[in-house]
Subunit: 430 residues, 2 copies
């Protein structure tokens, strides 16, 4: 809060930027990303808050494809629920744009944890890609490790090294000493602030996405303690004392059920489960240490909050999709990394599973023609429906912002695309 105040100033109820220039002021003009009358409308209304909330007026803007006036639910939410839709919705992982100049003005000055745990900053960062590119989804700016301190697992983000957990969880005693996540409002108060504010901001014009790391991914971070490309410590425990890993996964699953429900109660309309470290696992290991806990989590949330779509995205999911295909809740959206052919995933997961992904993020370094062709091909290969356009992994730093804008534009025009012939099993019949 203090950090944001220092960066922005408010005069006569309107946000005036100091050093954060366009981040505070982008709603005033051409940088706002909206076109036509909505841009004008956006520029006319300003925040009257005594706190500087540079995002405050932008909620009034309605982009193309907005469902605000029609009263219908937003496009991404409808598609994630399994409804056929007028076009393919789009958003881009990661949650905030490290590739965006506006984002870097924050990231250069404010630590990651302060950014993700200070509601006003997290709100601003969450909205940046939406304002710039008119994505159909707005994902909360946060980190998959965010809930860990509430369980008693502290972490720090070290530049160039990633998260470091000074006291890794490696014994049954460590697990017995963990706290449970009984009251997220008390232990993670910023989550409700972020999500409830974002929900008001985007209401009707985009879909608000919450997210968590899966039990396996969080366990691997917390056991490893710091980055190791082979997860030597975690996998040594897996090999020698799998019961310790299982106990930790069970503890995390309980906490994450509460955390997901809390995100939903705070405003999230969809929650994505990131299994970011699935690529460390063989299919057999995935079957034992990741998927059962992710599936249990999905089952329990589906009972508690049945109307909220969940997305399961495994980084390194190729070769494991036949396991996910056997899920109990068939209406889980399956996120795909770009090592999977969209047509193969469609063939394996069936014509009505909602698929998300999976364009190579490096395509966004290509020409307009390359980007347009890749996105259109992806939409066609998915069958033209039951599909959320996205990249297969996070947008890479250095990606031109214009490319992201074009990628989103292709989705907005996708209602005119004719899908490929019905996906067949031909790819598997070699």
């Amino acid at each position: 809060m203090a950090a944001l105040k220092a960066l922005c100033s408010c005069v006569d109820g309107a946000c005036r930027s100091t050093e954060l220039g366009s981040a505070c002021a982008s709603f005033l003009g051409s940088q706002c990303g909206w076109s036509g009358s909505s841009q004008q409308a956006c520029g006319m209304r300003r925040s009257g808050s005594v706190h500087c909330k540079p995002y405050a007026c932008r909620a009034t803007s309605g982009g193309e494809g907005s469902d605000a006036r029609s009263g219908a639910e937003p496009l991404l939410l409808r598609v994630a629920r399994g409804e056929e839709a007028e076009r393919t919705p789009v958003w881009l992982m990661r949650q905030a744009g490290r590739y965006m100049a506006d984002f870097r003005k924050f990231s250069d000055r404010i630590s990651f944890r302060e950014r993700s745990e200070t509601a006003d900053i997290a709100i601003e960062l969450s909205l940046q890609p939406w304002l710039a590119f008119r994505t159909d989804g707005v994902i909360m700016f946060s980190d998959i490790l965010t809930p860990l301190p509430a369980l008693g697992i502290e972490f720090t983000m070290v530049k160039g090294k990633g998260p470091v957990i000074p006291s890794p969880v490696r014994t049954l005693e460590d697990i017995q000493n963990l706290r449970t996540l009984d009251d997220p409002d008390q232990s993670l108060p910023f989550i409700r602030q972020i999500l409830s504010s974002l929900r008001k901001e985007v209401e009707g014009k985009a879909t608000l996405i919450g997210f968590i790391g899966t039990p396996w991914t969080l366990a691997a971070y917390a056991m490893e303690g710091s980055s190791d490309k082979n997860l030597i410590k975690t996998k040594s425990i897996m090999m020698h004392n799998p019961e310790i890993l299982h106990a930790f996964l069970a503890h995390l699953t309980d906490a994450l059920v509460t955390y997901v429900c809390h995100q939903i109660d705070s405003g999230a309309q969809i929650v994505q489960l990131f299994d970011s470290w699935a690529h460390h696992l063989s299919p057999e290991q995935f079957s034992e240490f990741s998927w059962p806990y992710a599936e249990q989590l999905i089952d329990r949330v589906k009972i508690a909050r049945p109307d909220v779509p969940l997305i399961f995205h495994a980084n390194g999911g190729t070769g494991k999709l036949h396991i996910v295909a056997q899920r109990k809740h068939q209406d889980v959206v399956v996120g795909l990394d770009w090592a999977t052919e969209m047509r193969e995933a469609r063939s394996l997961l069936g014509p009505k599973t909602v698929l998300q992904g999976n364009v190579d993020p490096m395509v966004l370094f290509g020409s307009e023609d390359v980007i347009r062709r890749a996105a259109e091909q992806n939409i066609r290969d998915a069958g033209g429906n039951y599909h959320i356009l996205n990249v297969g992994h996070g947008v890479v730093q250095g990606t031109p912002e214009e490319s992201v804008k074009l990628f989103c534009q292709v989705a907005r025009e996708s209602g005119k695309l004719s899908p490929n012939v019905s996906p067949s099993a031909e790819l598997l019949q070699v």
Copy 2:
């Protein structure tokens, strides 16, 4: 050569170690890895070379499973050729044991390029895992970048950073300025020295494996210049100027055909093609930029040297196997990383394709029981034949040497294992 002389000394025609202790002297006793009478035979004969060749006497030792006396071809070669065999052969990627104490005595003192381009050192390092673990294959100690300087692409190995190419290949002009690989004996003289000596050392008792990086993997190294986890420079060229990448791939393919034939003529009995950077590619990109060049290389070598088995190993091959499955030469051995289920690969590639792999290297951090079960399960899932046991990626530094020994032991006992029921397509029928 000078470096090795400095590290070892010869007295009365026998190798005496100075600082390299067990590396020079391991053939004299229990560290030699051979058992019973062969160990004794090994210890009785010593090198009479004026150059210190600590490996020289060890060629006389014959391990269990040796075909030296029977006159038959060695096991690994027969299996790679598609013959049924009395047991599953085994070797472990990488070529030399960074996890081995003997190896580190060299790596701590001698630069990577000096180690790989000085014949006596490369020979010694190639033999270390064989002597210690009685693998069925001996792979030449070298680097996938080794042929690049012969084309005019210089590189240095920077500790902690990997290879650095000071003048990356990024334009058509760069490619036109490259040399062709007309005379490897002149430009890479150590290759023949290494392979011909190794062939004499292992003749009949193990199979000598040569290797190359695939055109795609070499192109990506040479275009990128230094490590980048997203291959931003290479993939930017791929997106904007694919014709430059294609021209480079064609040039590399020509050179690599010559290089593979040269390795074979120098003594290699099998050559493995490492597509180490296949994981950067979507299946579509793999279909355009990697596989066609690897396949062309295979086709041309198969015409020139029809009796030599080739292994194609893609790191990140899961999701691309259906492309490899359509290869013209069905007798190519397919190496698998550990993201692919062995049974799924068997189902996809057919019962008689020779498969190599694919145990998670982290299994070697497990207990004896874990290692034994994983290796046995892998052998069973492959169908008990047409299979070379290996890890799915390189052995990780820190791996206990005893674990590697046990892994190899499981293969030696594999003749008694009963395979699983005939692999079916059940995994794909979800």
